[in-house]
């Protein structure tokens, strides 16, 4: 653990957009000038008080920040160990953490004079957040969504349409988040002059991983303040679910240089992390490669072809992970574990029954890991899990798995 700022975990990325060997700018030449322009504009915005004043105003009055840090009393009693807090980002406008980042990117897009916004979406939360903010500012919005995800997330598809977005079902590949990202990149290459690509997670070419992290870091900054107010000290552990890893990066980043804080990322273990590869645990079951503009851990075969993962949660169904997570994994600053579909489903139900909160399937993975470790920890151990999304969008999927007939 570093004790001086030179060796801080919070200084990345370097000028090439790298976190150690991870990250970078692996994009075609057509996009490169725009990526450099975006980087320059973001650097200007970062030190522009008026930009952050506008963000703060929207976060407060449009999103409803700060989100509460809630003491989960009954879950804590039930598990009989660590004191469990939930960061309630599911209470944000649009029901997830995604809007924290979308607001920042859309304000940047407008500074750059872009009038057409494209986005990729898996579960639909990032697509809904992008469609929402585009409606708020009167911008044209096109959302790429895997055809398979369009089927399993119908309520969010309808929400996006109500908000005025065009939803394009992607049939290339296997029709999931990875393929949606490919088609969004193809759109961007074609319409690069007037189009801004609003990426939903801490992945993609530099500066996206750092920029999205910075916008999501509002989560961790609030937790820091709120925990000091509640308990007079920092938390002992942080737990968050990871697909691309934006809610986790937002929670973790403000604590990276606090050695007493244990940091745990939870990947989607699907049907189990083994050689059948029916999971999305890039760090646990993958190895470094290059995809979608960055070097990071990927699920791939012996020839370097990208594999399709599996998760019950459409939002975690991605064969890669943000490059900063790959770096935190290799440096050992953060630990990464995996949770299966079945464990996540059990945690989902326990949270509904004990806390009166219907969580999304994504944070249900984080909660399942909390359920595993909390009983082994002392009563004065302060544990924060990121409740990054609400479960309304998932009730159809859960009903199907539990054998409940929603039609009848």
């Amino acid at each position: 653990m570093p004790d001086d700022l030179i060796n801080s975990f919070m200084n990345g990325p370097d000028e090439k957009g790298r976190f150690g060997i991870f990250g970078g700018r692996f994009v075609s030449e057509t996009l490169m000038p725009l990526i450099l322009e975006l980087e320059a504009e973001y650097e200007r915005a970062k030190t522009d008080d008026s930009f952050w004043a506008q963000m703060d105003d929207l976060w407060t009055h449009y999103v409803g920040r700060p989100s509460p840090l809630y003491f989960a009393e009954r879950l804590t009693e039930d598990l009989g160990g660590a004191k469990i807090y939930m960061k309630r980002d599911e209470l944000n406008h649009t029901g997830a953490h995604k809007i924290n980042n979308v607001l920042g990117q859309i304000l940047l897009a407008m500074r750059m004079g872009k009038t057409r916004i494209i986005a990729e979406t898996g579960a639909g939360q990032h697509g809904v957040a992008t469609a929402t903010v585009c409606a708020r500012f009167g911008l044209k919005c096109i959302v790429y969504m895997g055809a398979h995800d369009v089927e399993r997330q119908k309520p969010n598809v309808f929400r996006m349409k109500l908000l005025g977005a065009e939803v394009v079902p992607v049939t290339s590949g296997r029709g999931t988040l990875k393929d949606a990202m490919n088609d969004a990149l193809r759109d961007w290459v074609t319409n690069v002059r007037d189009t801004f690509y609003c990426i939903g997670t801490v992945a993609g070419p530099h500066p996206y991983p750092a920029m999205v992290r910075d916008f999501q870091s509002i989560i961790g900054k609030e937790v820091r303040t709120q925990m000091m107010e509640r308990e007079g000290r920092l938390p002992d552990s942080l737990v968050a679910a990871i697909g691309g890893g934006s809610n986790a990066m937002g929670l973790f980043h403000p604590f990276l240089d606090d050695p007493s804080v244990r940091i745990i990322g939870v990947e989607a273990g699907g049907k189990g992390v083994d050689d059948r590869m029916e999971h999305c645990a890039s760090l646990t079951g993958g190895r470094p490669g290059v995809l979608h503009g960055n070097r990071t851990y990927l699920l791939q075969d012996a020839d370097g072809q990208i594999l399709e993962g599996h998760s019950i949660s459409a939002g975690l169904d991605y064969p890669g992970i943000g490059p900063e997570h790959s770096w935190l994994h290799e440096t050992g600053r953060a630990e990464y574990v995996s949770i299966t579909d079945d464990e996540a489903l059990a945690a989902f139900q326990r949270c509904c029954a004990l806390e009166g909160i219907i969580p999304a399937l994504e944070p249900s993975h984080a909660l399942a890991h909390v359920i595993k470790i909390a009983p082994t920890l002392p009563a004065d151990h302060l544990l924060v899990m990121n409740m990054c999304g609400r479960g309304d969008k998932d009730i159809f999927t859960v009903a199907r798995h539990l054998g409940f007939d929603m039609e009848g």
Partner: protein
């Protein structure tokens, strides 16, 4: 001097433009693709671009995406694509071969090992779409040290400020992408392309070859007339995708080559 440099020297001496054709390695299967590849020089192809299939070809349109999927489904790998080059070289030691694809299969094999294998197989150059000059340390510089040409794409968004960086470590030729878009998309207009080629040529002595959106002998002729040559990919790959027999595909290629050489 690579086979690519030799080819351009010869074409220049003959006062002819280059015709470059792209096919996907292993599409629709290894044997058919190899038969097609072996027939290309006879159909008038000066330089062969051999596609290395990848699951996530982010700069390619539906035609080449489908070709990659067919090849992968038929069991094509980077190793088998190098096998095609080895087999081709048994009967042809002069036609340049450029491997074209994405970085991950190469990175996955290990850059050093890949370069060793590519050189010994008889590869002359590389086009790796997702490696801009900002990532030159990854493959571009090691590839040139190993004696391969590293051919860079220049695009309509590559402005004068950026052009020197794009040309700096480019060798063999410059591939000008005539549109902002993916392969197989809208047709390029010679009137728009000519000034762009002139702009690039004022900054480099390398030949400038134009691709994207060329699909007929006439468009090959029109584009080649304002550049040092033309590349056709999707239009050929589309015929392979339709299951046309190799002689029919080669006849189509011969027509395109004739168009480019007419210029």
């Amino acid at each position: 001097m690579t086979r690519i440099d030799d080819t351009f020297t010869r074409l220049r001496a003959d006062g002819r433009k280059a015709f470059v054709s792209y096919i996907m390695g292993g599409d629709p299967d290894h044997a058919t693709a190899l038969e097609l590849m072996k027939g290309l020089p006879g159909a008038g192809v000066d330089i062969i671009e051999l596609g290395v299939p990848f699951t996530d070809p982010m700069a390619d349109g539906p035609t080449i995406q489908a070709a990659g999927q067919r090849a992968l489904a038929a069991g094509q790998t980077l190793e088998k694509t190098l096998d095609m080059v080895r087999a081709f070289r048994e009967g042809d030691t002069t036609t340049p071969i450029v491997l074209m694809g994405y970085y991950n299969p190469i990175y996955n094999r290990g850059v050093e090992q890949f370069l060793k294998d590519a050189v010994s197989a008889g590869v002359d150059g590389l086009i790796v779409v997702d490696l801009p000059p900002e990532e030159d340390d990854e493959l571009c510089i090691p590839a040139q040290a190993a004696g391969l040409n590293f051919i860079r794409l220049a695009t309509p968004t590559t402005d004068d400020r950026r052009l020197p960086a794009v040309l700096k470590n480019t060798s063999g030729f410059v591939y000008y992408v005539s549109i902002t878009g993916i392969t197989g998309a809208a047709a390029a207009q010679a009137g728009d392309v000519g000034p762009e080629v002139a702009r690039i040529k004022s900054a480099t002595d390398l030949p400038v070859i134009v691709g994207f959106g060329i699909n007929t002998p006439d468009s090959a002729a029109a584009i080649a007339a304002v550049a040092d040559g033309a590349v056709v990919g999707s239009a050929i790959v589309k015929m392979v995708g339709e299951g046309r027999p190799v002689p029919e595909v080669l006849a189509f290629v011969a027509g395109l080559a004739e168009g480019a050489h007419r210029a």
